[in-house]
Structure formats: C-alpha cells, structure tokens
Symmetry: C2
Subunit: 106 residues, 2 copies
DNA sequence: TTGCATTTTCGCAACATTGCGAATAGACTG
DNA sequence: CAGTCTATTCGCAATGTTGCGAAAATGCAA
C-alpha cells in the first residue's frame, strides 16, 4: 500500500516545479521588490505623519538614524517583523499580518 | 534661534519615557507573544488547508521539516517577513502588512 | 556664503534567523 | 509486535539583520 499511496512526495515536487515555472524568478523578485518598496514608503509616511526626524524616531526605538535611513530606502530587502513592530510601537500602531489568496489570472 | 527650536530631542526622550512607562515591558511582551502565537497558528492553518505535511511544505519552500515545525511552535519568536513570504508564495498567497493605529484606552 | 539639522552611505562587529542532519516520540495500520 | 508517516527537539554552521560611528551630501535659513 505504501507504494501506491506514497507518491505524495513526487506530487509535491511537481507542484513545486509548476509553481516556479508558472511564476518565473524574475516575476517573483519584482513582487518582492514592490513589497519592500511599499514597506519603506509606509515607514517614511508614518514617521512624517508623526513629524519626527530619522534621528528622533531612531531614539524612540533605541537605535540610530542610519538604521532608519536604511529601512526607508526602497532598495532595502531586509525588513523584519521585529523592526516593523518596534517602529509601529513607537508610533502608537500595531503591525497586522495577513495571508491573502492570490487569484491566478486565467 | 537654534536654542529655542532645539529642545526637540529632549521632547522625543520624554515621549520615549512616557511610552514605555504607560506600556510596561510585561504588557509589550504579552502583545508580541500573542502576535507570534497567531502567526504560528496561521502557518499551521494554511498548511493544513493545503493538506500538506511539514515535510511537504518544507520541500516546496526548499527547507526541512524541522524548520516548519519550529515556525508552527507558538513559542517561536523569530518570525521573519522573508520566511512568511516564502510560505505564502508556496501556498499561493501573499503577505499583506498593515500599520494600524492603536486606540489608547482613556 | 556660513551655519545647522537632516539624510545618506560605508564598513564591520554583534546578534538573530535559517539550514540541516539525527534522534526521539506519537499515531495509525496491518 | 514491526513498519510507516508525522511531528518535535537538539546542536551547530551558515547566512542575514542590526548597531553604530564617521564622513559626505542635501536642504534651508540667515
């Protein structure tokens, strides 16, 4: 029975190939780049809305201006939940995370 | 002029103290703990909904089952955007991040 | 122009997360 | 019971993110 029920693993690998074939690395990278860009912009907007300089926000969360600058750079790809929460907390916000189904365009 | 407009830095530090005094470390940790717990649960739910074992999901995102197990552990505090995106991508979802204002209870 | 606050870039050490194998335990089937 | 799949835990190396100072660039006002 094991053999007839087993191919799950192979099926997973097929799915894996289909997923990455259907969504080329280039496209995936573009999506991520946009997402990071958006996060950078949101941080900048939050800070601006609070009328704080990078140095001021940095002090609020216990770091330096250069770190804030890095986070607000659209090319930065290292955003972490931990940092987003620190910033959100200092600006009286909370970070909400949601998984949203992607409609595969036919 | 500089001197009369300068105290911004001190004001920031006062805000800093007020923020952390009004929201004790214990409470802050509780909130984070809940948030992490929720993420762990969401990952588990997504995986279950896709009828995948930890090993299968691990293969989809190019890692091992022990890593998935770690992520689904409610006590895990190291969730990263990068990993959430990998999982979301493999399960045909995207990660949405929002900053939401906290109403300070009077 | 000078002066000052702010922003940006760079480098590297310190810390945090991930990768991964191996071992253990639980559930289920035959 | 053995056999299989699944889930969990541990340790350590590899990778990634943060901390932080210093210097240079920008913007604005006097």
């Amino acid at each position: 029975m094991a053999k007839t029920l087993k191919p799950a693993s192979d099926a997973v690998e097929i799915l894996h190939r289909r997923f990455y074939e259907g969504k080329p690395a280039r496209l995936k990278n573009l999506e991520e780049a946009r997402a990071n860009e958006e996060i950078a912009r949101k941080i900048h907007e939050l800070r601006a809305a609070a009328s704080l300089s990078q140095t001021q926000l940095a002090k609020l969360i216990g770091t330096t201006a250069s770190v804030i600058c890095r986070l607000e750079n659209a090319d930065y790809e290292g955003h972490s939940l931990a940092m987003l929460r620190r910033i959100a907390g200092a600006l009286n916000q909370r970070v909400e995370i949601r998984f949203i189904p992607i409609r595969r365009s036919a």
